[in-house]
């Protein structure tokens, strides 16, 4: 009986949630320049945003962000999308984030989530994990992991969002 109740309430909660579009949590991260930034202040003037959780030690994450970097200009021209890369590097590798990002020529907005506060708040258990945020700041799509070619699927989702 208790078990049934647990399962029932959990399912109900999940069902209940999926019906709503989620907003970004009230969590502070840091910029590469050491400034504190509340993630709810993200803004792209009504155009969509992609938020990607990554780390300097994560191969598939770098693969994903490097693949997008090649087509980023085209994506921006066509849809106005902006990419937000959230590094979950801790104090072991945090000092490598800026050198890696700059040497890679990434044009993304980079934030540091050193204590994993944002990662936990967004239910990210493994990286990479990519979220698509619409022009009103609501999370409309997300995807775990990266395999070659996933960026094309992501771009389709962005196009769908813009053409709505």
């Amino acid at each position: 009986m208790k078990k049934a109740l647990i399962i029932f309430s959990t399912l109900f909660l999940i069902a209940n949630t999926n019906a709503q579009e989620k907003s970004l949590p009230n969590i502070e991260v840091k910029t590469l320049k050491g400034k504190t930034f509340n993630i709810q202040d993200l803004d792209n003037e009504g155009s969509p945003m992609v938020m990607s959780f990554w780390a300097t030690w994560c191969k598939p994450c770098k693969k994903e962000l490097n693949a997008i970097a090649e087509v980023y200009e085209d994506w921006q021209d066509e849809t106005g999308v902006k990419l937000i890369a959230i590094s979950i590097d801790d104090s072991r590798s945090m000092s490598k984030v800026a050198p890696y990002v700059n040497s890679s020529d990434w044009e993304y907005e980079i934030y540091l989530d050193q204590n994993s506060d944002l990662k936990r708040a967004m239910g990210v258990s493994t990286v990479p994990h990519t979220f698509l945020i619409n022009g009103n700041g609501k999370i409309v799509w997300n995807h775990k992991g990266y395999i070659d070619g996933d960026e094309e699927k992501l771009f389709e989702e962005i196009q769908n969002l813009v053409s709505k």
Binding site: S9, R92, P99, N102, S104, D105, S125, G149
Partner: protein
């Protein structure tokens, strides 16, 4: 009247003891909150299940599990509404996978909290994760892969005192498995962004910070005076200017001897640590130079305990975290009792259209790290000894060194590769706590080629070839593992499927009967935020590390199923 009291008592006991009832009440609270606040509140969470069967395999020394199948799982639930966040995690170990400590046993809700923010004040009651500075004196965090979760249970306050001034403070006990360690921790941290708080318009940004931590634990030693309150403090400085970034932190911890009854084992020396990094980067180029020195800096949540579950501070390893298997066979682990290390990283991108850059540009990363012991070991102080090691001495016993170069290149629309060459030296006797001479020090030269070929839209095949050539630097009494080869083939169909086959072969083992293959096959299915993976094969006994904290993974043979999902 008496009966009513009894009933109430019984009910109270039931409530206190029964996790499930507490869980249901928590869920109902969630449920109630979510229904009353359809418009503004939201619920999210994530789920993970990891199931593994264990079959005996004498050749690789793998044990069968009595339970046949072992299982780790958790579910996180978060409810947030404007300034309020409530969360919990249900964890289930029935029983824990063999690479977890066996103290993770049973079901429960070891993590639950509520956070409320008002007028710049953030209040958390219940469990929380926190880190002061770079973590030298305090870090409470979770690393599921390692089976580490030392979340605090208590009260935390964060307050914005003014523009650019942030204060954090807490009291709490730290989690160990399904219970809490003896020590009571009190801590405070102040961080000041000088430019912001003094309206100081400048190209150069200065951020200073200072932390204080104190652990109370009752003294039970009948012979020696040992401090019941152990304090640690630190100061840090961060200067950012243009492409430059400097970070430095110094930490000090007062004496914290264990409850020994023997004078010779008592150590009244204090501990200290210093870490420093300097970074420069510009378009196409970046460099990071780091160093740290650690002396007697193990900070435990209970003075007599050993084991990673009781460690309350974090001293990151000064070496590159490698993602390829053979590069990580001999990983470095931080020695909180004493070490001196340096690390250098250079990132460079050869531009498109140059001879080395080709059509898409070529990225290279050079990395060097070297960690050695302190002269004569860590500081020691009692009636017979008063010793502190030299400040800088790079000639002491080598623990670990790694020099490596990684090249990342896209050749054309179909083919790209990643290649790594490395030379590592690993003091196995010391880093794994063996008797000197048992395994000695191993020098290995490693080459990795990771090649991807795009067959058609969404379809990619990837080949990984790795080789490790080992050389024993001193003769050891145990058999040398010697050389390794590894191969992997992976076929992926975006966005849903992946198939992988890999084989590790210890062809160079000194003991011919141990020249074994470790083969694995994995199939994964991904859909949106859910991932299923099933694998079958043999795992080698080894050390698995994240951020310098390691666990010993026993060899195993069996089937593995993992499901992760978030909503």
């Amino acid at each position: 009247m008496g009966m009513k009291k009894n009933y109430l008592k019984k009910y109270k006991t039931l409530f206190r003891n029964n996790m499930k009832i507490r869980f249901v009440i928590f869920l109902l609270t969630f449920f109630a909150l979510s229904s009353y606040s359809q418009n503004s509140g939201q619920i999210s969470g994530d789920f993970s299940l990891n199931l593994q069967s264990y079959v005996e395999d004498e050749a690789i020394n793998a044990q069968a599990a009595d339970e046949v199948i072992l299982n780790n799982a958790f579910l996180n639930l978060l409810y947030s509404n404007k300034n309020l966040t409530i969360g919990l995690r249900y964890e289930s170990y029935l029983n824990a996978l063999l690479d977890y400590d066996s103290e993770f046993r049973g079901n429960g809700i070891p993590y639950r909290f509520a956070t409320y923010t008002i007028d710049g004040l953030e209040i958390t009651a219940g469990n929380f994760y926190e880190q002061f500075g770079s973590g030298l004196i305090f870090r409470s965090y979770e690393e599921k892969g390692l089976g580490i979760d030392n979340s605090m249970d208590g009260i935390r306050l964060k307050y914005k005192l003014g523009k650019g001034i942030n204060i954090k403070s807490f009291v709490g006990k730290s989690r160990t498995y399904f219970t809490y360690a003896e020590g009571i921790f009190r801590g405070a941290d102040l961080e000041v962004d000088i430019n912001e708080s003094f309206n100081f318009e400048n190209e150069t940004k200065y951020i200073i910070g200072s932390s204080f931590i104190s652990r109370y634990e009752e003294r039970s030693n009948p012979i020696f005076e040992i401090p019941q309150n152990v304090a640690a403090y630190s100061g840090r400085l961060n200067i950012i200017s243009g492409g430059w970034n400097y970070f430095g932190e110094y930490a000090h911890k007062i004496n914290d001897p264990i409850n020994s009854l023997q004078e010779s084992e008592m150590n009244y020396a204090s501990g200290n640590a210093f870490t420093s990094s300097i970074t420069y980067s510009q378009r196409g180029f970046g460099v990071t130079a780091e160093m740290h020195r650690v002396d007697n800096m193990l900070f435990l949540s209970e003075r007599e305990r050993t084991g990673k579950a009781y460690i309350m501070n974090y001293i990151p390893t000064l070496s590159k975290p490698h993602a390829y298997t053979l590069l990580a066979i001999y990983p470095c682990a931080t020695q909180a009792m004493g070490e001196l290390g340096i690390q250098l990283d250079v990132f460079y991108k050869f531009k498109k259209g140059t001879p080395l850059g080709g059509k898409y540009g070529t990225k290279v990363n050079f990395n060097f790290s070297r960690i050695n012991g302190l002269e004569g070991g860590n500081s020691m102080l009692n009636d017979n000894i008063d010793f502190s090691p030299k400040l800088f001495d790079f000639s002491q016993e080598l623990y670990f060194s790694d020099i490596n170069l990684e090249i990342n290149k896209k050749i054309n629309k179909q083919i790209s590769y990643n290649a790594v060459f490395a030379n590592q030296t690993y003091n196995k006797d010391f880093l794994e706590g063996k008797t000197p001479g048992e395994y000695g020090t191993i020098n290995s030269t490693i080459a990795v080629l990771d090649l991807s070929y795009k067959i058609k839209k969404g379809h990619t095949i990837r080949f990984e070839t790795q080789a490790l050539f080992a050389k024993q630097l001193e003769t050891a009494t145990n058999d040398e593992e010697g050389d390794w080869l590894m191969g992997l083939v992976e076929y992926t169909i975006s966005p849903n499927w992946f198939f992988a086959f890999q084989d590790m072969y210890n062809y160079g083992n000194e003991n011919e009967s141990k020249r074994l293959h470790y083969t694995n096959i994995n199939i994964g299915y991904l859909k949106g935020s859910t991932r299923f993976e099933i694998g079958y094969g043999k795992k080698r006994e080894g050390i698995f590390c994240v951020g310098g904290v390691c666990k010993l993974v026993p060899s195993s043979n069996g089937l593995n199923l993992s499901i992760t999902s978030s909503f």
